[in-house]
């Protein structure tokens, strides 16, 4: 096994996912299969290859800069309209720090 149930729990924590017990076992099995296939990449010698993070095209260095001008943004009401819990124009979340 490339990945244990303990690894799955650790990664789920990093990803902020509360996996149920039955999900942990299934996830370990699925990820193990995928990671075994992914191991194929180690067959390639990439010592002299630059990583490619993005498809980039030739453009002037300043091409994407624009004038910094004022323009309308979302109103406060629009910005919070989809939130499940709001109050006074803010997002409300459970208490973070106890007094």
């Amino acid at each position: 096994m490339k990945i244990s149930e303990q690894d799955v729990r650790r990664v789920a924590d990093l990803a902020n996912l509360a996996l149920r017990e039955d999900e942990v076992a299934r996830m370990a099995r699925d990820l193990d299969g995928i990671l075994s296939h992914i191991d194929k990449l180690n067959e390639l010698d990439t010592a002299n290859v630059e990583p490619m993070a993005q498809v980039l095209f030739d453009a002037e260095e300043t091409a994407t800069l624009r004038e910094d001008r004022e323009r309308p943004s979302l109103t406060n009401a629009e910005a919070v309209a989809n939130a499940p819990v709001t109050g006074g124009g803010y997002y409300k979340v459970p208490r973070v720090i106890e007094r």
């Binding site: 990664v11 990449l41 990583p51 490619m52």
Partner: protein
């Protein structure tokens, strides 16, 4: 009942409107009625938008009445994938998490097609957050293939492909990250285009894997797809990765002349292909030769590594992009949580479907301490090798043709329990996505069972014109 849109194209609708044969409002009303009646068969639409459609159609009619130009997409009924934001019109991304999400702004592509006179009929079903190859990962139920209702339409843009195939829309918008436009186009027997990365603004496209995401058009004809792309393409200052390159007049490039066009056939793409699919693709290659193309074998040697590289890069980016669905801003929060941490964890566990969770987990794993170099960095290097394969091939040929999918549309439920075999079926579309080159699927016949097969045409960065010219000439010759 046959579709009121049967036989209509973007150009014939415009001509009919200008000749006063019908009004945009009549066409919109008939199309909506037909879509309401037919949708239960396929589940292609998640939301129909009669108010928005009728007001757009009425605007086209008044322009015509006032002697103004109603635009290149005048009165054309269009379906839009539900990962593309529409202001004031529910946009779910196929996810339970966003079941009630109403965007506060329009995607740039949506603004452009409405400014061109297009009439948005509704939002189409898709795999949750565009993650899937069969449209079975939607929280709102799968889409059925209009060609064979017991089969999948492909994914992730299954609803947009089905809407055009079912003739409830003339054209539609999908999104493609690893094949999500081309594969459903091939399964449903229509055209689907993934333009050059950056050709169409991603502003308002819900992010899945930002370095791979594209908006792309579907159409029954190559000309319709070319015209729709022409409208939505071009630089947008709201997306800094959108390209500055001028947008050529794609429909004008469809001159039917393929004499001397050099086409490469990658041998690697014909291993492990269903035999009927291979035969139909090779018959299409024969037709291209008859049209004057020079066909030669080429090599894309890193093809066998593409799926592995893709599923590392795409899931790594997805794990970051999907972090925003945390119960604070986007409509859904788990009930009865008392701490911030439980709010995040429970909301995400209850909200995301299995495939999203799998990809978030894989993406988080490959980026986590100790694995970054071995997985993510290695995948980015392999991506470079795949892009280099294409660059070298395009020194010898003008275009590459290949299959789209190893097999035609499969039955609902057939592959859903085996994520790896589902991932591996994306092999022929993923390579072009990683390289960021334009690629499309054009129908190339049907199997003995009547299932459509697509021919993939790939060209150099920003050379959509050659891609469209080949597809259009082939389409006319094969009809």
């Amino acid at each position: 009942m046959s579709s009121p849109l049967h036989g209509l194209t973007i150009d014939s609708i415009r001509a009919g409107l200008l000749a006063k044969k019908f009004s945009a409002e009549e066409l919109a009303r008939q199309s909506l009625a037909y879509a309401y009646a037919e949708n239960p068969k396929t589940n292609a639409y998640l939301t129909l938008s009669p108010e928005r459609a009728l007001s757009a159609a009425q605007a086209v009619d008044s322009k015509i009445a006032n002697g103004e130009d109603p635009g290149p997409l005048a009165g054309v009924p269009i379906a839009v994938k539900d990962v593309i934001l529409t202001r004031g019109l529910r946009t779910t991304c196929g996810s339970k998490l966003l079941a009630n999400y109403v965007p506060p702004y329009d995607a740039t592509a949506v603004i452009r097609l409405e400014q061109a006179g297009g009439v948005i009929l509704g939002k189409t079903n898709c795999d949750e957050f565009a993650m899937g190859s069969s449209n079975e990962n939607s929280a709102f139920g799968p889409v059925r293939n209009p060609v064979a209702l017991d089969r999948v339409p492909g994914g992730s843009s299954g609803g947009s492909a089905a809407a055009v195939a079912q003739e409830t829309a003339v054209v539609s918008l999908g999104s493609d990250t690893g094949g999500s436009v081309r594969q459903p186009a091939s399964f449903c027997g229509i055209n689907g285009v993934t333009p050059t990365y950056g050709r169409v603004s991603r502003y308002g496209l819900t992010a899945f894997a930002s370095s791979l995401d594209h908006i792309g058009p579907f159409g029954k004809t190559t000309r319709d797809a070319a015209r729709l792309l022409h409208v939505i393409a071009g630089r947008d200052e709201m997306d800094s990765t959108s390209a500055f390159a001028p947008v050529p007049d794609y429909p004008a490039a469809l001159d039917g002349n393929l004499r001397g066009v050099k086409i490469g056939l990658p041998r690697e793409y014909f291993d492990g292909l269903a035999s009927e699919t291979g035969d139909l693709v090779m018959t299409a290659v024969g037709a291209l030769k008859n049209l004057g193309c020079e066909v030669r074998d080429i090599q894309l040697p890193h093809t066998p590594y593409a799926v592995a590289a893709y599923y590392i890069i795409a899931t790594a980016e997805a794990s970051a992009n999907l972090a925003r669905y945390d119960g604070v801003r986007y409509t859904t929060r788990s009930s009865g949580v008392n701490t911030l941490s439980d709010m995040y964890r429970m909301t995400r566990d209850e909200g995301f479907g299995d495939e999203c969770k799998r990809r978030i987990m894989l993406g988080t794993y490959v980026l986590s301490a100790g694995y970054y170099d071995a997985y993510y960095l290695q995948a980015q290097k392999v991506r470079h090798l795949i892009a280099r394969d294409f660059a070298e091939a395009f020194e010898q040929v003008d275009a590459i043709v290949a299959p789209v999918s190893p097999f035609p549309a499969f039955k609902l439920g057939e592959k859903v329990k085996d994520p790896i075999s589902m991932y591996l079926s994306d092999i022929y579309t993923i390579t072009g996505s990683l390289a960021g080159i334009p690629c499309m699927s054009v129908p190339c016949g049907r199997t003995a069972e009547g299932l459509p097969v697509g021919l993939q045409v790939l060209t150099r960065h920003f050379d959509e014109s050659t891609m469209f010219r080949i597809a259009d000439a082939y389409e006319k010759a094969s009809h």
